[in-house]
């Protein structure tokens, strides 16, 4: 099984993992076969769960289709950026620079969600 299938297998079990390079120790996302910085071998690691919003947008959608939703890029504390959705607040309340925390795997089993850190 390749790293992509492994990632989504783990995610489907509720386990969100990123990779770390065993040579240069840099964190890697999305999952790859080799470190894109140095070519070294990669191992799975559980991210600490915190991050900061790098940027965000509210995608406008008709209420009958589910209403507006957030799409964001979050910089994880480990140093990688990923696309996610910030949940638990109105999409318009998401701010760049806002501290966020891992909220869980999305209902479709192939997404990771974040929520504002301030929220319990």
């Amino acid at each position: 099984m390749g790293p992509q299938a492994e990632y989504f297998d783990l995610l489907a079990k509720g386990q969100f993992r990123i990779q770390r390079c065993e040579d240069c120790t840099g964190a890697v996302f999305y999952p790859r076969t080799h470190c894109p910085d140095c070519g070294g071998p990669l191992a799975w690691m559980e991210p600490e769960g915190t991050g900061v919003v790098y940027s965000a947008t509210t995608v406008r959608r008709m209420p009958e289709a589910g209403g507006d939703y957030n799409v964001a890029l979050v910089d994880l504390s480990e140093g990688v950026r990923l696309m996610t959705r910030i949940v638990g607040c109105d999409p318009q309340e998401v701010r760049i620079g806002m501290p966020v925390r891992f909220s869980g795997v999305g209902p479709t089993g192939d997404t990771v969600l974040y929520r504002p850190e301030a929220q319990q």
């Binding site: 989504f8 939703y69 990923l82």
Partner: protein, 389 residues
């Protein structure tokens, strides 16, 4: 560095076809119309074409049916697909092939009927999901490419204080130029109030911050400059060209506010031996209003973060400090999926002095900047008249 190739190759023919809606025509048909127009404009025949570059936004193996349709047998073929930047990026490999003698006349061509296509955008989106997989983005349903540009705009606002007013300046400048261009598709008067009140789609970008979705085909022909002297039009020389690609998806880019245009621009300017202040007219690929601001900065027309203020007060509109997107841009002239060939055609026409009411007087040096993907591919070309050699 390709300094010794500066000016050695010239664009000698340009053509467009099917602009807007090409109802009842196929992509190959309007591509062929543009290609034949460009070849005739160059004073050549299709039999003279022995080099081809082309790319498709959807179709794999695209160069092969194009070769078949045009009835040519090129000895040089490049179909590298870098989104809308492809047709600016195709210059350098064509320059090398022409310089080495591998071929003598290169046709660069594109055609799309995405406006009138019977294949719905929903079907195309589904096919893309399978054939252009981005499993770490698609499940979040960004309205891409728009949402990535929207996040670039939001980040630019955060870092540099850029405003929706600044984006409106870009939209209004494009419309002002389009109103001088009989070929432009959006020529109605437009007010700042209308721009600021437009329907938001992916914040902070509204419907009027987005390029159109049209049909259209464009083509141009390149030959060695020494062969260009007895052709119908004065040769427009390629003084510099460079391309940089940082990836495919926005989440994997190092920055959404500083693009690979920093590198492609620097290298193209070095090859051309000119500076941003020397440029008479700039065609900057404006798929979205934020693009123009990013590229004004990254190409060195103003310091980082100042692009919005550079565009303010009509700075890039007719009569402003720098003529930008003089055909009306992707925002108001035309945008059939991939737009790089169209901005090249506009730059050539400006340098020929063929642009009528929108002509930039005395234009000798033009910059063409192609953007592709989600801000991820950048290609810069600097074109000049014989006076700039």
């Amino acid at each position: 560095m390709n300094r010794d190739l500066r000016g050695k190759i010239a664009i000698v023919g340009v053509g467009q076809a099917g602009l807007g809606t090409a109802e009842g025509f196929t992509e190959f048909e309007i591509l062929a119309q543009a290609a034949h127009a460009a070849v005739a404009d160059a004073g050549l025949t299709m039999a003279d074409i022995d080099g081809l570059t082309t790319a498709s936004v959807l179709t794999p193996m695209w160069a092969m049916p194009v070769i078949e349709y045009l009835g040519i047998r090129p000895s040089f073929i490049d179909s590298t697909t870098l989104g809308g930047s492809s047709f600016v990026a195709h210059m350098m490999p064509a320059i090398h092939a022409l310089s080495s003698g591998q071929c003598n006349a290169v046709l660069v061509c594109y055609g799309s009927t995405q406006r009138t296509s019977s294949i719905s955008r929903k079907v195309i989106a589904g096919v893309r999901r399978d054939f252009d997989p981005q499993p770490y983005e698609y499940p979040y349903e960004p309205l891409n490419p728009l949402s990535t540009y929207a996040m670039a705009a939001a980040r630019h606002m955060h870092e540099y204080g850029t405003t929706r007013e600044n984006l409106a300046d870009v939209v209004l400048a494009a419309r002002a130029w389009a109103r001088l261009n009989p070929e432009a598709l959006r020529r109605d008067p437009l007010t700042r109030e209308e721009v600021l009140a437009a329907r938001m789609i992916s914040d902070p970008l509204s419907a009027l911050d987005c390029c159109m979705v049209n049909d259209g085909a464009a083509a141009y022909v390149m030959v060695r400059a020494d062969r260009a002297t007895d052709l119908p039009h004065p040769p427009i020389h390629v003084l510099g060209n460079a391309t940089r690609v940082y990836g495919r998806q926005g989440s994997s880019l190092p920055s959404l506010t500083e693009t690979a245009a920093v590198e492609s621009g620097r290298e193209a300017f070095e090859m051309a031996g000119v500076l941003p202040k020397d440029i008479d007219v700039a065609e900057l690929y404006d798929a979205f209003s934020i693009n123009t601001i990013l590229f004004l900065e990254d190409l060195g027309f103003c310091p980082k973060g100042e692009g919005g203020r550079f565009a303010a007060d009509g700075g890039i509109a007719p009569g402003g400090r720098l003529p930008v997107n003089t055909n009306g841009g992707g925002l108001s002239c035309i945008h059939p999926g991939m737009y790089g060939a169209f901005i090249t055609v506009e730059a050539v026409r400006q340098l020929r002095g063929d642009c009528g009411e929108r002509q930039v007087k005395g234009a000798e040096l033009a910059l063409v900047h192609g953007n592709g993907g989600t801000i991820s591919s950048q290609s810069t070309a600097i074109l000049g008249t014989a006076a700039t050699l």
